[in-house]
Symmetry: C2
Subunit: 225 residues, 2 copies
Amino acid sequence: MSQKKNRLKAKLFVVEGIKGINEFLDSHFELQQLFTTQDIFEAECELISDKDLLRISNLKSPNTAIALFKMPDPKPLVNKGLILVLDDVRDPGNLGTIIRLCDWFGISQLICSQETVDCYNPKVVQATMGSLTRVQINYLDIEEYIENSTLPSYGTFMDGASIYKTKLPSEGLIIMGNEANGISPSIEALVDVRIGIPRFGNLKATESLNVATATAIVLSAFKGR
Amino acid sequence: MSQKKNRLKAKLFVVEGIKGINEFLDSHFELQQLFTTQDIFEAECELISDKDLLRISNLKSPNTAIALFKMPDPKPLVNKGLILVLDDVRDPGNLGTIIRLCDWFGISQLICSQETVDCYNPKVVQATMGSLTRVQINYLDIEEYIENSTLPSYGTFMDGASIYKTKLPSEGLIIMGNEANGISPSIEALVDVRIGIPRFGNLKATESLNVATATAIVLSAFKGR
């Protein structure tokens, strides 16, 4: 299950640790199988040894239990509110942080390009800390999606207009790009408003912010006014 | 040099990769020694084999060169502007992200408690992407420091007043706490203004934001108005 093609075939994914498993048990996700070294769950479980847990876990120091949950069928999208769109975000830690941010800021729909890392990747599941149960995630052709949406689209660019000075709406698509290359040209062509996070420090420095950090700042600007 | 006590004894730290090394060479940091598999630097260097580079590197896939730089002596603190204070931040990736954020938002002074992870830890150096050359970092007794500062202190708490509704000054101390425990009680007692990032999503969910993500949002709120 640590490989995407196996997860997709079986339509199952792995959750590890007591806290994470309980969050999924309390949600609309359906349990397939639960292996644990201690009989502490309300769900039906199979007791295993510490040695077996270590053998099947993706973690160096597994925590008590490992579970297989069924991937839910994709829900229909609702064309309202703020919707976050990811254009090819590749790092599992970044996607995990972004899912937690959506949960925090009440962004209930997250659209990912087909190239974006799988949200059921074990590293993403661990990094989301249960937020995955509260944010609806759809993988689709984002070019087609943006083109067909009636909502205004806001793309983030290094040279975009300051998020602190731009009027940011309560409904719209917020597009974040790839770690190394930003938003791809075909998506850039569809952006209605180019926004950016102004740099206050040394202007000669060429570094950009990490995409998860930038998402935190952009979502805060949209929601916090 | 991957151990803190050895770094402190020698007052040297490691930088890896062409880009990072060039950023340090272009800064006020003083080079001690540079090992490289290609003679592409302006500084004096020692040519080594790929095999030797792999042997001395902290990385699985080292990139061309590894250098030792001298730790600068701590500069005196200036009691003005916005100053970020970290109370026991332990994760190297979080500190690296926070240093990059200081650089981005023009926060030139970062104060770390003695328990905060060492900024010359190789993982921090890799994560800062050169920002370490532009942010002044002092490790000290932050309780004493906050007590003696004439600047107002802003501490971040889960139940603090909304950063979106609180008047945030252009001068002051911004205090961020430990990953698991937040700001410690002895520091909490010294905080003038308790601020927080309001949650817009599901209010039952108990997760907090990661400290680096929270720092991004808080610094953005201080600077972006």
